[in-house]
């Protein structure tokens, strides 16, 4: 999987690409508008992350250029602007998703996976983790090929875990993924605990293993070890 990251803030770009490389993605970076245009004309990417405000141009133009080229790459806008207009414009121009800075890296990762999965029409649209098989579009989960009945939040939680397997996920990032940023954090931590407890119980009931590990004071990790 090849990803192009168009972002002028070097430190942020480094952090993102480091995180994505650990996910076995091939991550290329473009720091300027011209650089980005050059790269999309030369290479094919599966997913492109675009910052709207670039020093020498508007990220939206990169998207319309991609659309003119009939590119099949998934496009995610990452912007410091939480302006609704930008969001609407971006999505109308052809972006698949919109993420406002500052975001959690696991969130970005989950969004990238979701976009790539939706783009990948012909291929396998299932996500596998050991004995757990998830069909995201149908919202179905199988453990040892037995269907697992989950609530919507439990399903989202599981998918988020599997998308970021072997990673420490902070409670904040889980809370924001499940409820957006309108939820009070202190309250949501209690729900996370409840949901995780239920999810664990349901998976174990179907004969699955407990992969959810607690990272002290920090959050959780979905891991084989």
């Amino acid at each position: 999987m090849k990803i192009l990251l168009i972002e002028d803030e070097k430190e942020l770009a480094d952090a993102i690409s480091q995180y994505l490389r650990q996910e076995k993605y091939l991550c290329e970076m473009a720091c300027t508008f011209n650089d980005a245009i050059e790269k999309i004309n030369l290479y094919q990417y599966d997913c492109i992350l675009v910052d709207i405000t670039l020093p020498d141009g508007n990220g939206l133009k990169v998207i319309s250029e991609l659309k003119q080229m009939n590119s099949e790459a998934g496009i995610i806008i990452i912007s410091a602007k939480n302006a609704l207009d930008d969001k609407i414009n971006g999505l109308e121009t052809g972006a698949d998703d919109y993420l406002t800075k500052p975001f959690h890296l696991p969130e970005l990762n989950a969004r990238i996976k979701s976009v790539i999965r939706r783009r990948n029409f012909g291929g396998n649209r299932e996500t596998l983790f050991q004995e757990i098989r998830i069909r995201p579009d149908e919202m179905e989960v199988y453990v040892h090929d037995q269907p697992l009945v989950l609530t919507r939040k439990e399903f989202e939680l599981l998918l988020f875990f599997v998308s970021n397997k072997e990673r420490v996920l902070t409670k904040e990032s889980i809370a924001e993924h499940l409820w957006g940023d309108s939820m009070d954090l202190a309250d949501s931590f209690d729900f996370i605990y409840t949901h995780i407890k239920n999810l664990r119980k349901k998976i174990i009931e179907k004969g699955g293993e407990d992969y959810i590990r607690t990272v002290y004071g920090m959050g959780y990790k979905f891991s084989v070890q």
Partner: protein, 426 residues
């Protein structure tokens, strides 16, 4: 207490009236005295002439003429035996008048003359003052009438002129009253051909331009500052997220990082709140549309469903499905969401939350701890009833901003453990 004020024109007219009346009174008095003097000197001159006539008659006729009257005036002549006396005296006197049957004022000439045919005579002539006094009174009356007419005319003229002269001033005043720095329109230039008003207008225009510029700068600064903070925050967050993946971290280090994480999250939320406020201030939510409130309220209650379940809060709603409010839809969502999340956050365990929506208003009532500060203060930024609370203290400030922008009045009522936020639509 309301200060009593008086209109400029009324004030000047009043001064004008009092001053002119005073001046007219004094000049009137002087005029009267002058008139009096002139008439009396004429009267006295007449008396002396008559006396001379009597004396001439005495000289020619060589007898004591029997003067009862002269030119219709009462007169009498008596022989005086004392020699060497000569004097004229004129003064006012009061005598009984037989014809009129009452006392009347007279001008009385008393003359002694011993040089006439070696005999002396005294001559008395009485001229009634009634006519003269009447004349003076008439003249004074006419003059007073003239004065009063003149005074009224002058006041009228002064009033009209003042009104015309002050027109540019009143225009400037109206413009100033309608001026709103928030509206991003400069104070309209108001021309006047009166030097002082022109100066005033120029000074006002300069001042309002400066205020406008500063205000815009400040608004821009607020928004830009909040914006610029987003990227470093994103860097901190992402670097921390990378850092915690390190397996070599021990518990203490994880604890430290966790604290940094939480603080960063707080700054992020704070910054987002400030950014939202400055964006509302910068009028980036101008397009308004009718928003159906009932479905919005249900959607948000559903969103917070887990919270109300966890706190065992009893939620009851009475919603009029047809109520729409003309406002920005994104702001409507933020408004309702902030209100409901507040009502849940500050609620008691197993408390109640009641939402009533009708055509005129939306009321959200919840149980909660009694307030420790004045309700009005809650709408200020960073004002919290419970300072240790985990929120950043911008929720109600944002609610207030949105309400003002959407012309909704908002009121906080509290009665012990019950808190009600009342929104009235117009």
């Amino acid at each position: 207490m309301k200060k009593t004020t008086i209109r400029l024109l009324v004030k000047t007219t009043r001064y004008y009236l009092v001053l002119s009346a005073g001046i007219f009174l004094i000049t009137g008095l002087v005029f009267y005295l002058l008139l009096h003097r002139i008439f009396y000197s004429q009267l006295d001159q007449g008396l002396l002439n008559e006396k001379m006539l009597i004396e001439e008659t005495i000289n020619y006729s060589d007898s004591v003429p029997d003067f009862r009257t002269i030119f219709g005036h009462l007169a009498d002549v008596t022989i005086l035996y004392e020699p060497n006396k000569r004097s004229d005296r004129i003064h006012d006197t009061v005598m009984y008048n037989d014809e009129e049957g009452k006392f009347l004022s007279y001008r009385h000439l008393f003359a002694e003359n011993t040089s006439l045919r070696n005999k002396g005579y005294t001559i008395n002539i009485y001229k009634p003052l009634l006519e003269t006094e009447k004349l003076i009174a008439w003249i004074l009356a006419v003059v007073a009438l003239l004065f009063i007419t003149l005074l009224l005319l002058l006041v009228l003229v002064n009033y009209t002129i003042s009104r015309r002269v002050w027109i540019p001033f009143y225009r400037t005043l109206t413009l100033l009253e309608n001026y709103n720095v928030n509206r991003e329109k400069p104070l309209p230039v108001n021309e006047s051909d009166i030097f002082e008003f022109d100066r005033l207008n120029q000074a006002l225009t300069r001042m309002s331009d400066k205020i406008q510029r500063d205000f815009l700068n400040l608004k821009e600064f607020n928004e830009n500052a909040a914006h610029e903070l987003q990227t470093p925050l994103a860097v901190i967050k992402s670097k921390l997220e990378l850092l915690i993946q390190d397996e070599r971290l021990d518990e203490g280090q994880l604890k430290t990082i966790s604290a940094i994480f939480e603080a960063t999250t707080r700054i992020t939320k704070l910054n987002q709140g400030l950014l939202l406020i400055s964006r509302i201030d910068n009028e980036q939510f101008t397009n308004q549309e009718p928003v159906l409130l009932a479905p919005l309220i249900r959607k948000i209650l559903d969103h917070f469903g887990e919270l109300t379940d966890l706190k065992k809060i009893k939620v009851s709603t009475t919603l009029d499905e047809t109520v729409t409010v003309r406002m920005n839809s994104a702001l409507a969502e933020i408004l309702v969401s902030n209100l409901i999340s507040n009502a849940i956050r500050h609620n008691l365990l197993a408390g109640t939350l009641e939402i009533v929506l009708d055509a005129a208003r939306l009321s959200i009532t919840n149980t909660g701890k009694p307030l420790t500060c004045h309700p009005k203060q809650l709408f200020q930024r960073f004002r919290k009833s419970d300072p240790s609370a985990d929120s950043v203290g911008l929720g109600l400030a944002i609610v207030h901003k949105i309400a003002v922008l959407s012309k909704i009045t908002i009121d906080y009522q509290t009665d012990g453990n019950l808190h009600t936020l009342l929104l009235k639509f117009f």
